[in-house]
Symmetry: C2
Subunit: 792 residues, 2 copies
Amino acid sequence: MGPDELELLNRYWNAANYLTVAQIYLQENALLRQPLTAAHIKPRLLGHWGTSPGLSLVYVHLNQLIRKTGAKVLYIAGPGHGGPAVVANVYLEGSYSEIYPAVSQDLAGLRKLIRQFSTPGGIPSHVGPATPGSIHEGGELGYSLAHATGAAMDNPELVVACVIGDGEAETGPLEGAWKAPAFLNPARDGAVLPILHLNGYKISGPTVLGRQSDQQVMAHLASNGWDPVVVAGTDPMVVHPQLAVALEHAYARIRQIQERARSNGASGAERWPAIIVRTPKGWTGPDFVDGIPVEGTFRAHQVPLSGVRENPAHLAQLEAWLRSYNPETLFDNDGRLLPELAALAPAGPLRMGASPWAQGGAAVEPLSLRPLENYALDVGVPGSSTHETTRPLGEMLRDIYADTADDPRFRLFSPDETNSNRLGAVFEVTDRCLMEPVFAGDDHLSPDGRVMEVLSEHLCQGWLEGYVLTGRHGLFATYEAFAMVSASMTVQHAKWLQHARELPWRNPVPSLNILLTSTCWRNDHNGFSHQGPGLIDTVLSLSGSVIRVYLPPDSNTLLATAEHVLQSKDYVNLVVVDKQAHPQYLSLEAARRHAAAGASIWHWAGNENPEPTTGPDIVMACAGDVPTEETLAAAWLLQSHVPGLTVRVVNVMDALVLPPPDVHPHGLSDVDFEKLFTPHADVVMAWHGYARAVHQLVHGRSDPGRFHVRGYNEQGTTTTPFDMVVLNKMSRYHLAMEALHRVTGHFDGAQELAEHCQEMLAKHEVYIREHLEDLPEIRDWVWTPPENQRTI
Amino acid sequence: MGPDELELLNRYWNAANYLTVAQIYLQENALLRQPLTAAHIKPRLLGHWGTSPGLSLVYVHLNQLIRKTGAKVLYIAGPGHGGPAVVANVYLEGSYSEIYPAVSQDLAGLRKLIRQFSTPGGIPSHVGPATPGSIHEGGELGYSLAHATGAAMDNPELVVACVIGDGEAETGPLEGAWKAPAFLNPARDGAVLPILHLNGYKISGPTVLGRQSDQQVMAHLASNGWDPVVVAGTDPMVVHPQLAVALEHAYARIRQIQERARSNGASGAERWPAIIVRTPKGWTGPDFVDGIPVEGTFRAHQVPLSGVRENPAHLAQLEAWLRSYNPETLFDNDGRLLPELAALAPAGPLRMGASPWAQGGAAVEPLSLRPLENYALDVGVPGSSTHETTRPLGEMLRDIYADTADDPRFRLFSPDETNSNRLGAVFEVTDRCLMEPVFAGDDHLSPDGRVMEVLSEHLCQGWLEGYVLTGRHGLFATYEAFAMVSASMTVQHAKWLQHARELPWRNPVPSLNILLTSTCWRNDHNGFSHQGPGLIDTVLSLSGSVIRVYLPPDSNTLLATAEHVLQSKDYVNLVVVDKQAHPQYLSLEAARRHAAAGASIWHWAGNENPEPTTGPDIVMACAGDVPTEETLAAAWLLQSHVPGLTVRVVNVMDALVLPPPDVHPHGLSDVDFEKLFTPHADVVMAWHGYARAVHQLVHGRSDPGRFHVRGYNEQGTTTTPFDMVVLNKMSRYHLAMEALHRVTGHFDGAQELAEHCQEMLAKHEVYIREHLEDLPEIRDWVWTPPENQRTI
């Protein structure tokens, strides 16, 4: 790097830093063309200065790499609270003004730029959806490297430059994400270039990695398969050339790795380059404030100079700080970046703020799915046969893999549970991916596989998020209880989508599809820790504009659901269905109708007249496979023992038809809701998750107190499937008794049925909980109730 | 290790393995004294064989270490699904039968032992609360090492041996937990001895670490500050001596580190020993089944031989497998372990299954708190002064640190937010803990500090869980939104407590206290990603026997809450209160009464007569600090503009008074509930979290549809505090308008107030969302509503 180039580059960096400070502090006098006064200062000073110079440093150097090599780079800012730095850079390169023309590249635009930052009606302080070029908010720390890795998968030309702060590097999810080299295949995937920025401090304390030696930090990355170099210093003129060289070498190495793999095939895990940048926190900011050191300490984290409006010394120091960047040498009279500086930015879509990948890919290529008839079960009489509900879905996913083989844009992510979840048909056409040696006894394992199995819900979900945010499609299949491990990621992704949808310039992206296949009701073998339907509750609280919750009762409804969610965009789709063998109810045609409606009366399971005049005495409602099974049995018990009782069965497979339409767009109109549930009849409902969630959903409906809900009630252990429904009081007997309790008037047979239910539960109780020691064979007390499910 | 010792040790290990297989398969013929028949086999085969021999290997070797050195060892089984192995070991050492006398050390007890495993009415398949010596379930993977680290803190004599499976080692939380050496002080803390067990496979795929070279895995641990050795082999007679030596060396090294630190003071992070054990998955199990390799592959994960009742070849293979351990050389005629083997177990409380630390410590020493009068605010007229609500709590915590300095048993855990959360008074008496070099500019940092700050919610919570499960006290203070990061840990801890409470032999342990101090309403500066009250919903779904949710409205109620939760046992206490300056309402005396009641009528804020005869026209209810502020203002608006309206204000600070008493023990009786809320009056409620959760809580109460709730509605950005309540429609104006909408009949002034509210909201809308560009100064549009809160 020649001295001229160095000087230009440093001035460009100065421009970015200048605009960062200006955004944090100024509401007028953007270029300091007048002496700074208190009136120029914003009334509330918000923002994070500490990480910003580092983010800009990397950005301006990546610009040079892109200009020299034509590399296609996606920039991920792990420390997303350095938002003003990234905004400054996308403004300087011009991509910001193209998207937001009012924030033009002139004095008027500069004024808007500084005033909008972190002010009401303006832009938020983080690198959010509103930031061009971003797929990562960086608010909740931990996921930058996983997002980067997901973005690189099946994106062979892309280099994802991922800045990781040393604060974020303390989180578990980030630590887990370092193992990316074991899963990135240079023959087909893009590259991830981690840039670990050690500025030494968090909010008020040092960081663990920041205090460790270069050697120890390098060893940490190296042990995860990376080949790190260190760039360090406190003098920009020393650091610039180092970083430029490090980036050039890293890029050359990336291309070398890829070319070799693309010529000769990928072998073991590659030692991908990584860069450790050690520069002061709040670099180029105030050294001391009121005699206390600030630059290079935690005190530079947010707003180094406080009370600037009231404190003339601080005001003077701010002015000196701003002027230290020599704004008059950066911008022309009209407020435009000087041409020799503007020339340092890449052009067109190579600008990182204009990366097509950050907006869902150049164009999201939809998945074309084969007709569901290929996978549908021939159900026959409802309930007459059982089948592992998720197995046909595996066949559907298999064909998606097959049909996208030439244009790979689908992946399945799972914590080592693809087979366990009965989705193993995918292995007919692809393998598990691992860039480590393959042994003879391994099952469908190869570097070329596209099924991503790693025992980390954080990685599975983070990779998928990066994959869909760059315009591809996928599914995260996991145990229901352990979906809570990444629940906060689900929340954050929903928040991202909610804001992104409001931005017309952001392309819709494929939905985040989460399939929970090993549910609370059938983790009877794994026990209490594996029984937790909590993600439903978490998702239900989020914005109706982006969340969907499906509880298909059987395989064909699951297929209809999958067809929809895999083609949908901008949603978080939660699909909950058990993998074990369960009764099957609906033909494909009926399943499609049911899925489209979201909830239907199952006339064949009740005993209303075809033209009901008075409505049912009781509505038996259900949502989810096991609840449906128990409800159908209860409905049969009621009808067969109490023939005078009119029973209606309603199955709900889209949980969000239940709330009123002003709460969720799927919410049924009151008229349609009452067509299902009547205006006032008591409803006994069996619900897949925590029962009381239903009361949250039906609030606002006619007479919501009439909903009597049974669901998972946080009771469980290693026991029989039937005992699970008994423990949680959702068994057919409990449901039938609840119904009898709710109906008014005398019905012949009601008393006898109630006694029968009590008797059966007592029998179960004896078998399960009293006779363990005396029974001759355990077989005898794994008792299941008699067949009593209506099958006509 | 001499040949005799080796042979004895191996026989003991055989006994553990034998009993493990017997638990998985047998219901009769426990010692194989008859030829094995199908009738001896359990009807449903559950359990995880793969990890079990490794867990037992470590256990029997730790026994020898304990016998030789008198070490006090706590055993943590990361792969908790190896439950039968741990149960086998605690049975062999005798601690199991002491707790469960029916499972005696004889033939009758053996029969019970095998029959109870993973069968209904028996014991679950994981190392749960029912397993003596365990503080860690190992169901949801990722937290073993964090639990071990927390258990070691302030436990100077304890060695926590933590077996980590290579599956668990793929999780983010486990990866993050490797940094323990940066936080463990050998002068005062016990030791953590990680034993990374690489058997190479998860359920159906290989593990990342399992496929890496010894060198790479060692480098990985070394880079985190450990000093690892590898013990590897497929021949037990080769592995036994290696492991024995490795454990002896590790223990000697631990004692050396501790002695030096305890003599000379602790300096930098120590290189603690760690052991990497590489042995086959399902070691000593079937090599091949039906011609397919099993031992040393993923196929050994669960039950290697399936269909044993139906498949005579499998039955024969099972018998051969069981007989390969030569049970006749292990147990005497009465089914007792032979004396020469029994002698290999430690005695009394040194047995790991009898560890006093696994049962809450020998005795939980309560915290004696100073009188709250030391910290209480002098509030005066309610609402007349503001104060940072959490700051007095910081003083209370400071004194707890001071008062336990000689017997340390309290720690505060936080992701670098102690100061930010206004708890900084603790630094008057202690520091942040870090075992890395301390620099001159650091703020209260030293190896001797007991404030644990690490930017990982998983580590903070995992450490605290380990700390309280071993009988000490603590508090995890974190940002509300990011408490969702460890929400699944909260669920799992609640599940642990729920089951542990049912076991009379388990001592109650101090509660897990989670303080959320930077809440959704006042993350207006950080924006949308930092606004998420979801943990409340997660906790509300759990068992009422163990969960508590407190929303103190001000500082004195927070103190009263803290006094209670810090002295409580066996709960998960969630306390939500903002750290910013807020109005203060209650004197300490009034706060104590309010806290004891959980919810009260605030007569001073309403206008009912002292002896109400007809009840209020409207109840204005609130829960949480910001909702209280807005509700009081709304109540003032109603009373001052519509003097004919009778308004009651109810503040709820214990969320769990709302559900009926059969749902939660804090639930008010219907009589008491209606004393607050009347039987039928409309209730306008402002709720801290997602509004619809209240409908879940009040289901079962009289006329639940009359509760009209406003709360966080997933709307937010970087904006003003008042805009946050407007965006979520919970502002004083929204609440007042909702009240006017709900009351029936004509009231003078109502129309005018409704218009006033609309006008004020319109004014706000103009300021915030329309006039950004035209206003001369940003100051003008950071508009807050006029003072209108009743202060009498």
